[in-house]
Symmetry: C2
Subunit: 213 residues, 2 copies
Amino acid sequence: MAEERRISMAVIRRLPRYYRYLGELLEKGVNKISSRELSEKMNVTASQIRQDLNNFGGFGQQGYGYNVEHLHKEIAKILGLHQNYKMIIIGVGNLGQALANYSSFEKRGFKLAGLFDVNPRLIGMSIRGLEVQDIDKMENFVKENNIEIAILTMPKTRVKQVAENLAQWGIKGLWNFSAVDLFLPDHVQVENVHLSHSLMTLAYKINDAEEIN
Amino acid sequence: MAEERRISMAVIRRLPRYYRYLGELLEKGVNKISSRELSEKMNVTASQIRQDLNNFGGFGQQGYGYNVEHLHKEIAKILGLHQNYKMIIIGVGNLGQALANYSSFEKRGFKLAGLFDVNPRLIGMSIRGLEVQDIDKMENFVKENNIEIAILTMPKTRVKQVAENLAQWGIKGLWNFSAVDLFLPDHVQVENVHLSHSLMTLAYKINDAEEIN
């Protein structure tokens, strides 16, 4: 795996999209595809596709194209989707509820195991068969159930402390939706979703397009 | 502005984070900061900061550092945050409601003007003073109110058609939360938020870290 170590995060971040497209092709019964065809479907250059996939030793054969099932499986392995993850959601407001209802995560091996909140009005409520629990019960739950991923959708002010606790309890990854940058020990991976950053990027694109036209 | 044209999207995507940090500094009354100090706060290298900001002609002075207010304002201008945007949300389920409740967008000039859904149980419901309207009323609303941005949080199956309609009605930007890639005319900018891609990237980081340790 030493070779994979040098792959840039920019390439890694493009892999889920390949994974999704290949999954759609599989569902349609398509077994092989050329980089040119894949390129037309995905609206990226064929050379970008070849470069990206060559990072992993390349799974294509000259004149044949890619074996869709094999490539799909290999990308899954690279992304770590060949195994399952147990997740909890902390903060069951609208965003937490929206994420709890995403059934597509489960299909990819991300299993929601628990929901936590501090709000007495939410505690006891049931979403997809899971009851929202008091955050006081979280430490035991995380340790007893070997929870790997915590989704942080609670108010900004509480995030830092909760994240540090989770790190101590052995959590492996945090999916952080708050606008707080977390600096944690190396054994905890953090993936931030900054929705406002994405909206600002859209504003940039709008302005940039107007200046061109 | 010809010079800005060559700035890569990778740099652009880092700007909202600078913008947020500089905003926090301003709130604390900090007026100047060196790239070294900013680097420690943001956990990126000082040289990365200098490189990024030099893309815009550089706002720092040797031995003085950056004028926080000036830099904050310049980044706002680059990102297009010096003007206001009128937005609508299409699909007022949990995710749509969560986004409707983000008051921080408004502070940055993104004003929510309308909410639309097809679900009779949601139509008429009020969120932050806005009533959810029947999607049939959307065409007139978009045209009469010069709506610039539409947030797409409705089911995947409807996204393509709605996006094409919005493009015809003169919308400038789509903030797309569905796992559907949109290919639209050049006058419409699209920013995709693929939550499942972000979760897969977290899985990659977890696996990668385990292989190292």
